[in-house]
């Protein structure tokens, strides 16, 4: 089989996985938004930080597979910010989480994933 033939099958499989996983991904985003709210109100704890780190880690590792490469990059930067000993840069994190919301509401664009194959 040529790559375009594989592509159609893989794309269909990815869309199926994304339909099932979208809710979970949005839940992870909600975890980040909730932590951001806590940061802004000065009411964070280790448990919520750990949850936010886990959510950012999983988003960074998965979104790009579905064509949301910018989403993965945003989540990776959020994860990095959350690991700062002095605490995250709230303004930067707010921008990144806001961008993640926009990207994830738009949903994946499979063509972003397959650019290398001329689609």
């Amino acid at each position: 089989m040529s790559h375009p033939e594989y592509e159609a099958q893989v794309r269909a499989a990815l869309e199926k996985v994304w339909r099932v996983s979208r809710h979970e991904a949005l839940s992870r985003l909600a975890t980040l938004e909730s932590f951001l709210h806590e940061l802004r109100s000065g009411k964070t704890d280790e448990r919520s930080l750990s949850s936010a780190q886990s959510a950012a880690h999983r988003l960074s590792g998965t979104l790009g597979m579905f064509g949301l490469k910018e989403g993965s990059a945003c989540a990776a930067e959020v994860e990095s910010l959350l690991c700062h000993e002095s605490g995250p840069n709230i303004a930067r994190m707010g921008k990144l989480v806001g961008r993640l919301r926009i990207l994830m509401e738009e949903g994946p664009s499979p063509t972003r994933t397959w650019e290398k194959y001329g689609q």
Partner: protein
Amino acid sequence: MPRTLLVIDDDHDIREVAKTSLELVGGFRVIVAESGQRGVAIAHDSRPDAIILDLMMPDLDGRRTLAELKRAEETASIPVIMLTAKVQADRQELMGRGAAGVLVKPFDPMLLSDQVCEILGWVPLEKDQP
């Protein structure tokens, strides 16, 4: 006879996408495991041709799973490719622990099979056909 790969990752999406990609694009037979403990057990029983192993997992993480695989005589020779979302992951350190290579998440599903073959020195399936 297709080669068999074992994918060990605690994230359901990554297991699903990797399995789909490696089967459809690479022509591999793929087994998945959701934890390090389960992966070690499957590797022991099924003796896959190679293992793709997530670095960050709860309980038995990727480093400890790799150590267990390399410690057991039955699985020590199976090449293990580490999968990580940490761009700054220490490639040399993982190679020093016995990893055959490192793949960075998120991977491109269309390129994953070629990347695995490149790391392991395998000929991709379509090029292997007469």
